[in-house]
């Protein structure tokens, strides 16, 4: 039996993926478990393994091509059948399937046949009514393209759609996901129930990946879309920071003031960041508390310790101490080390701390998670975080290395930011914004003196955390940072 190789879902939020590289070509033998391709998700590049042994008969999505999660990207001849036969029978389906859902699907040219054109026009017309208008520069073209490919999915099963017939009429497995995960202006198919549930929960259907026929969003998709706090591993996502400003500085074009207008299409990651943070700011009643921390003792301690560690080639950063202090404080204040689970009317407090650390990337940001950081010493924190940051920059993080945080820290200290407030990343209930440590004039014993001060700001979800609780946590944290010895206690 020929086996379809489908686009795997490599992260919670992934709706489509790009085949970066095929490591096998058509006709190559493949062993089960062998890596056959590299796939780019919305977050990282991942290796894709074959689940079965056989011969790679058809590559439906070429390098650079996109496919929705679940869509066939290749066909494997696994039995005694001839590769040529599989090629003949399988290639059309696989290509159609693969090319359909992805907006800019590269796939092969015959996918866009004569039928598509008039329907594309119709679909594009209706798309215009349905969804938020796109920026004129690129939106129209994208919508049309998307509609064109969508209308192809419809056709093949138009006849048997009564589905009152037996297995003979069984609809061929349609590509899942209608590309609506990116909400780029096309119509979202959703069941009435899914629409109602989404409206109740304030979920934007365009963000939800549909698993029903034609990529229809069904109730289960909406329910599972909300980051569920129940499984620690279920939480996900881009964390927040105030970073965009800083980031655009970092990636700003070298030539300034050329007068040229640039149109930057949103990457998957940028879309995800936009959607998640908008949702967070709209739905979570944020409040902010800032304390100033005197970090002179901490800096001294760090210098002394680093001197001792020189021969081990380990150098602790202020950030490592902060991470340690935050973990220690969170253990003492589980109310802040929690997830808000509105769906089930509950708050989940975690006994261990899984600390998310926002990392800026050239285009976006990502939040690797230091699991069980409360059980780590400073050296381990340093090593593990360096490792994660490296992986994050290389887009190599695995799913569980970027999900399941119980609390997040965003550090813009190196950019000289005086003070900022980050956006809570649900279902977490708090996020800590670390600004730069700088010499400031402060009053000590009635005298104005110069001290190194760092402002830290906690953003908290008021549904789960009250002002005094947050303040208490900050007081503990401030004590730990100003008297780092307390971390040993």
């Amino acid at each position: 039996m020929p086996a379809e190789i489908t686009m795997p879902q490599l992260s919670d939020t992934m709706t489509e993926g790009t085949v970066v590289k095929w490591l096998k070509k058509e006709g190559d033998k493949v062993r089960a478990g062998e890596v056959i391709a590299e796939v780019e998700t919305d977050k990282a590049n991942m290796e894709m393994e074959a689940f079965e042994a056989g011969t790679l008969a058809v590559i439906a999505v070429p390098e650079g091509g996109k496919a929705a999660v679940g869509a066939a990207i290749a066909i494997l001849a696994t039995g005694s059948e001839k590769v040529e036969d599989v090629k003949k029978s399988g290639s059309t389906t696989a290509k159609a399937a693969a090319s359909a859902p992805a907006g800019n699907a590269v796939a092969r040219p015959e996918a866009s046949n004569q039928q598509a054109a008039p329907k594309a026009a119709m679909a594009a017309a209706s798309a215009g009514q349905e969804r938020v208008p796109q920026p004129a520069e690129s939106g129209g073209a994208v919508a049309t393209h998307e509609a064109a490919s969508r209308s192809e999915i419809h056709e093949p099963d138009g006849v048997g759609h009564g589905a009152t017939r037996g297995p003979a009429h069984a609809v061929p497995p349609l590509p899942h996901g209608n590309g609506n995960g990116n909400g780029n202006g096309s119509r979202v198919f959703a069941s009435p129930l899914a629409r109602r549930v989404a409206a109740d929960k304030g979920v934007d259907l365009a963000e939800v990946k549909g698993t029903g026929p034609n990529g229809r969003v069904v109730q289960a998709d909406v329910l599972s879309y909300q980051p569920t706090a129940k499984q620690a591993g279920g939480a996900t996502e881009e964390k927040t920071t105030g970073k965009p400003a800083a980031k655009s500085e970092a990636t700003a074009p070298a030539r300034v003031g050329t007068g040229e207008k640039q149109v930057i299409p949103l990457t998957k990651m940028r879309q995800t960041i936009a959607a998640r943070l908008q949702q967070s700011k709209q739905q979570i009643p944020h409040f902010y508390e800032t304390v100033d921390v005197d970090v002179e003792a901490l800096s001294e301690l760090r210098e002394r310790v680093n001197k001792q560690l020189e021969k081990e080639k380990v150098r602790l950063s202020i950030g490592d101490f902060i991470a340690k202090a935050v973990a220690t404080a969170l253990v003492q204040h589980p109310a802040v080390n929690a997830h808000y689970d509105g769906k089930n009317n509950q708050i989940i407090r975690y006994g261990d701390v899984h600390l998310g650390m926002a990392v800026a990337l050239p285009d976006g940001l990502i939040v690797p998670v230091l699991r069980h950081i409360n059980q780590m010493g400073l050296k381990e924190i340093r090593q593990r975080s360096a490792e994660l940051v490296d992986k994050a920059r290389g887009q190599k993080l695995k799913g569980d290395e970027m999900s399941g945080a119980t609390f997040t820290v965003s550090n813009l200290g190196t950019f000289g930011v005086k003070e900022f407030a980050a956006i809570v990343n649900p279902p977490e209930v708090g996020i800590l914004a670390i600004a730069a440590a700088e010499p400031r004039a402060v009053v000590r014993n009635g005298q104005i003196v110069a001290r190194t001060i760092m402002s830290i700001t906690l953003s908290a979800d008021h549904r789960a955390v009250d002002g005094a609780v947050a303040a208490d946590f900050l007081r503990t944290l401030k004590n730990l940072l100003e008297e780092p010895g307390l971390m040993l206690v």
């Binding site: 009564g162 017939r165 069984a170 069941s191 009435p192 129930l193 109602r196 026929p213 069904v218």
Partner: protein, 355 residues
């Protein structure tokens, strides 16, 4: 003068209980569908002398399908009346006598033969009460075998429920169990409006527990939630239930882990929409099964009644499993093949469950 029937001999084991003589003390008896119908007619004729039975071979031959066996002996030729092959005439006679205060039960050998008396049933029976401003009531029951039986050919296999269920003024009943057959027929005979009472030749041998109680009735217009379930609402009625729906529900539970809520409509007009909607609110999915042709079939009407009130609770389009849209073949295998099967129901249910 009861004559033994070589093909069908329903009185052998359970006939006494059906007449309610020997087993009065037993609250429930195992009865065949036909015995339940006979019990209902017998009890109502004992209760009300205005009730009479008319049709082809209902008297001397004890009924083409032995539903009225022994009734001529019991009630005599004035109340158990044989007719020639003249459906238009005797159904018209029944409508007229009902207008004048009698309560006729008309037995059709097959509902397929009633195409010739649609004028009497639709133009007269259904309209008289309304058009006379309520001065006439038409308490007539038309009953007989409906739908596909067993190799009777296209002209004997019509499913007439969708023909009559669309007519205001008529009540349409289609029981699926012997107990419902008895209780609903008694309610129908007592009803002051014309009732289309649909049976199936193929169900007449079905056995079931039937309350042996002259006061036992099943109300018209109330569906039966035959099985509670959480995953999908399956709406059906009549023979389809007995033939394929119940086995499909079992297969879905056993082999696919899908928990079906099964609703037996029992009355097709007025339809118990409320029960169905309540169920869909719970399951968010619905499949309708009948043996009619799909286009303008009974299930289409049911679907129309459900989709709007259930819209916001549906997670998938309502599916309708029906017979193929062809004249019913004589050939046994083709006849079977055109009708809803367990497989078709299973795949429709899986489709709406996205499994």
């Amino acid at each position: 003068m009861a004559r033994p029937c070589l093909l069908l001999n329903p009185t052998s084991r359970h006939g006494r209980a059906a007449r309610g003589t020997a087993d009065r003390t037993t609250p429930m008896a195992q009865l065949q569908f036909r015995q339940a119908l006979r019990a209902a007619m017998t009890e109502e004729m004992e209760r009300d002398e205005n009730v009479f039975l008319i049709g082809e071979e209902v008297a001397e031959y004890n009924g083409a399908y032995k539903v009225s066996e022994g009734m001529l002996d019991k009630f005599g030729p004035k109340r158990i009346i044989d007719t020639p092959i003249s459906e238009a005439a005797f159904s018209g006679l029944a409508v007229g006598s009902a207008c004048m205060g009698l309560r006729p039960i008309v037995e059709f050998m097959s509902w397929s033969f009633t195409w010739v008396c649609i004028d009497q049933i639709v133009n007269n029976a259904a309209n008289v009460r309304y058009m006379s401003g309520g001065q006439y009531k038409v308490p007539v029951v038309f009953r007989g075998g409906n739908g596909i039986a067993h190799q009777l050919g296209a002209t004997h296999s019509h499913r007439m429920e969708s023909v009559y269920a669309r007519i205001p003024g008529l009540i349409v009943v289609h029981p699926s169990t012997p107990a419902d057959a008895k209780g609903l027929l008694k309610s129908s005979i007592r009803c002051d409006d014309p009732v289309i009472f649909l049976e199936s030749e193929k169900m007449l041998n079905e056995l079931g527990e039937v309350p042996d109680d002259a006061d036992y009735t099943v109300p018209i217009g109330v569906a039966n939630v035959e099985r509670q379930g959480k995953d999908v609402t399956l709406v059906s009625y009549g023979r389809a239930l007995q033939r394929v729906v119940r086995p499909a529900v079992k297969a879905l539970a056993d082999d696919h882990g899908i928990d079906v809520e099964l609703i037996d409509l029992r009355t097709l007009r007025p339809m118990d929409t409320k029960t169905c909607i309540e169920s869909i609110k719970k399951t968010n999915r619905c499949v309708i099964v009948d043996e009619d042709w799909g286009y303008c079939g009974m299930g289409s009407g049911i679907l129309q009644k459900l989709q709007k009130p259930a819209f916001d609770y549906l997670d998938a389009p309502i599916e309708y499993v029906h017979s193929d849209e062809i004249p019913v073949p004589f050939n046994h295998y083709l006849e079977e093949a055109m009708m809803p099967s367990v497989d078709r129901i299973v795949s429709a249910v899986k489709e709406v469950c996205y499994r």
